[in-house]
Symmetry: C2
Subunit: 182 residues, 2 copies
Amino acid sequence: MATDRAVAVRTALRTLVARNGFHGASMSAVAREAGVATGTAYTYYASKDDVVLAAYTETKAELGEAAVAKLDEALPPEQRFRALWLACYRHLKANPTHAQFLLQVEHSPYRGPAHEAALSNPDDPFLAQVTQPDIAARLRPFPVDVLYELALSPAIRLAANGIELTQSQLDEIADACWRAVS
Amino acid sequence: MATDRAVAVRTALRTLVARNGFHGASMSAVAREAGVATGTAYTYYASKDDVVLAAYTETKAELGEAAVAKLDEALPPEQRFRALWLACYRHLKANPTHAQFLLQVEHSPYRGPAHEAALSNPDDPFLAQVTQPDIAARLRPFPVDVLYELALSPAIRLAANGIELTQSQLDEIADACWRAVS
DNA sequence: CTCCTCCGAATGAACGTTCATTCAAGGTAG
DNA sequence: CTACCTTGAATGAACGTTCATTCGGAGGAG
């Protein structure tokens, strides 16, 4: 399949950026990791920046899907948040490369473009949750960015750091995050 | 004074990395920003990595000083934490470049070396606080990294994002961070 | 005081390497 | 044969680093 190579390129970039940073993710290294020729990446993407942004939006979309996949919409806000938070953490803990890649992008000059690219997806499950009336009514009147930093961002960073935490510790942390924004 | 140039180089690197990332902080650009010749930086530092690590430890040391400068050691743990947190936030809010630089370094491959370099300073005021008996007794048994992520890291990221927050919002957030780790 | 010598910090052009990107050539499917 | 995809060597720009050279001023000689 033709798109397999595009997937391989995105995945290789994510892996190398997570492992070695942007310095260690040259296009030739990405192509080698993906098992294709250097020029092949440029068949699917106009530039390296394009690959980075495509990998970023893909990674975020997968995270969003994993977060809401088994979410019970009938749960009350507090438990719904906890389930969302834990699903995020577990998805990234199982894929630390994703967590490390997200953090590198979000703290680099790609932050702005990546934010724009992510907003172009109007189906973001996190935004959908935040705008649900029962949750919105419980949230403090902080900007969305602040809500994100306090609530979800800790899950990403803890997963990226690879520290082992027990289930009860995770429950405590998820609750602490909920208290911070509610 | 001779060291003025070393300071200028560190400051220029921090500014350019904060503004443009490591990509936009070439040694020639850093030297230009510092107002010195390219080679001059290598009179004071053996390599670019050296400049990055020196700027990182300097930035962290300044943050530590600002955090404890006016700290009343007689305050009970909860209020001491809040004062520490707010002092951190205010210092970085006044110097967003510092906050952005710290985040870029900590989410790049410099993370490991930077951590080591920071630990070589045995007078870290944050570690000193964490090891004070009255505070330690109130902290949850999380690894230090987790405590840092939940307690102090939000202050850095909120300051870096440049969002305007009222004093009462800051108080709420500081308390939420304390609840997360206590 | 004037002149000359010497020192080492400062300089920036030059070096070798690596980067992102291109494209002519070869391969494959229909 | 045609049409399209894949390849990887080629390209020039930009990188980190080096080093032959410059130059202001400290200090001794007359």
